[in-house]
C-alpha cells in the first residue's frame, strides 16, 4: 500500500540514491572499523606468523635434508676410499701369494732337479764302477780263457809263467788297441 503510494508520488519525499544517508555512513564506518580492528589486530598477524612458521619448517626441513645428504655423501666417499684401499691390499696380497707360490714352485723344481741329478750321478758312478769291475773281471777271465784255449789248442801247457804272462799282456794290449781303433 505504502509502495503504491510512493510509486504514485515518488517526488514528494523521495530518496535520491546518490546522496548518502548520514546515519548509514556512521553505521558503515563503525561496523567496518570494528571489522578492521578485529581482523587486522588478531587474525591476519597470526596468519603471517603461521606462514612464516611454515616457511621456516620447510626451509629447516630442506636444511636438515641437505645436511643428511652431505653426511651420506661423505660416508659414501669414505666407504669408497676404504673399499679401494681394501682392493689394493687384496691385490697386493694376491701378488705376494702368487710370487710366493712361484718361489716355492721354483724351489721344489730346483730341489727335484738336484735330486734327479744326484740320483743320475749316483747311478752313473755305480754303473761305471760296475763296468770297471766287470771289465777287470773280464780281462782276467779273458786271459785265463785264452790261455786255457791256447793250451788246449797247442796241447801243451805253457809252463813258463813269465812268457805266458807276456803273451797274454800283448794279446790284451792288441785287443785294447783294436778296440780303441774301432
Amino acid at each position: 500500500m505504502i509502495n503504491l503510494y510512493l510509486a504514485a508520488a515518488p517526488e514528494e519525499d523521495g530518496h535520491n540514491p546518490i546522496f548518502p544517508i548520514w546515519e548509514e555512513i556512521v553505521v558503515g564506518s563503525v561496523a567496518f572499523a570494528v571489522l578492521c580492528f578485529v581482523l587486522i589486530k588478531f587474525v591476519f598477524p597470526q596468519m603471517e606468523k603461521t606462514f612464516q612458521a611454515r616457511v621456516d619448517a620447510i626451509e629447516g626441513g630442506i636444511k636438515r635434508a641437505e645436511t643428511a645428504q652431505a653426511e651420506a655423501n661423505q660416508l659414501l666417499e669414505q666407504y669408497k676410499t676404504q673399499l679401494a684401499e681394501a682392493r689394493t691390499e687384496a691385490a697386493r696380497i694376491r701378488d705376494e701369494a702368487r710370487a710366493d707360490a712361484e718361489g716355492i714352485r721354483q724351489d721344489v723344481l730346483a730341489k727335484a732337479r738336484e735330486e734327479s741329478d744326484r740320483i743320475i750321478a749316483a747311478g752313473n758312478e755305480q754303473l761305471s764302477a760296475q763296468r770297471e769291475s766287470i771289465v777287470r773281471e773280464l780281462r782276467s777271465e779273458v786271459g785265463t780263457l785264452a790261455v786255457d784255449l791256447a793250451g788246449k789248442i797247442v796241447g801243451e801247457a805253457l809252463a813258463d809263467e813269465a812268457r805266458t804272462r807276456g803273451t797274454v799282456e800283448r794279446f790284451i794290449a792288441d785287443l785294447d788297441t783294436t778296440a780303441g781303433r774301432r
Binding site: 500500500m1 505504502i2 509502495n3 503504491l4 510512493l6 510509486a7 515518488p10 519525499d13 523521495g14 530518496h15 535520491n16 540514491p17 546518490i18 546522496f19 548518502p20 544517508i21 548520514w22 546515519e23 548509514e24 555512513i25 553505521v27 558503515g28 564506518s29 561496523a31 567496518f32 570494528v34 571489522l35 578492521c36 578485529v38 581482523l39 587486522i40 588478531f42 587474525v43 591476519f44 598477524p45 597470526q46 596468519m47 603471517e48 606468523k49 603461521t50 606462514f51 612458521a53 611454515r54 619448517a57
Partner: protein
Amino acid sequence: MISQSTVLAAAFPPSVEDFYLPSILPWNQHESYWFTKITVLVWVAVAAIIIFFLMSYRKPQLVPTKKQWLAESIYGFVRNNIAVDMIGPQGVRFAPYLTTLFMFILVNNFFGILPLVQISPMSHIAFPAVLAVISYVMFIWVGIKKHGMAYFVHAVKPNAPLGILPLLIPIEIFSNFLVRPFSLAVRLFANMFAGHMLLLVFTLGGFAMINANVFLAPVSVLSWVLTIAITFLEFMVICLQAYVFTVLTASYVQGSLADEH
C-alpha cells in the same frame, strides 16, 4: 513471502523507494535509519566475517585444517594475487586491510542474491562511500609518508614534455584527486543498485503480467526463470566488484609508493 510480493507487485515498475525499506526499530518508520534491514545486514556481515575468521584461526596449525585452509586461502589470495602483485614486496603491509576490505564488500554484496535477504547494503551509496573515502585518505597518506609534500608534485606531474604539462596537470589533478573516490564508490554502488533493480523488474514484472492477464502466465514464468539466470549473473558481478574495488585501492597505493611516475 508471496503476499509481500503481491503487495510489491502493485508497485510495478519498481522505484528507488524499493531500496528504502521501513525501519525495524522503531517499527515501520520511514525517516529512521539507525536500525533498518540494511544496517542489520551490515552488522550481520561484520559478525559473520569476524566469527568465521576467529573460529577458523583459533588454533592455527602448521598443517592446516579444512577451515583454516579456507581462511588462509582468502587471505593468501588477496595477499599474493592483489597486494603483492600490484604493490610489490612491500604490499604485504597492506594485505590485512585489503583482505578486510575485500571480505566486507564480498559478504555485503552477497546479500544481494542471498535468498530471503536479496538486497545488498552496498546498494546504498553510504557504505561504498565510506570505503572509498578510506581508500582515498589511505593512498594520499601513504604518498605523503613516502615522498613528503613532494608527493603531490609526483602525483600530478606526468613524465611528459614541458609544453603539454599545462594541459596534463589539471587532468591529472582532476582524475587522481577528484574523480577517484567518486568512481570507486559509484562503481560499486551502481552495480549493486542495478543488480537489485534488475531482479525487482523481472520478479515484479512476472507478477504484473500475470495480474494483468492470466494468458500472460507463460511469459511470467519466463520472467521468473530469467530472475534465476540473472541471480547467477549477479553472483559474478558481486565477486567481480569486490575484486575490482580491492585491486583499484591496491593500485592507488602502488601509485603513491612508486618512485617514478
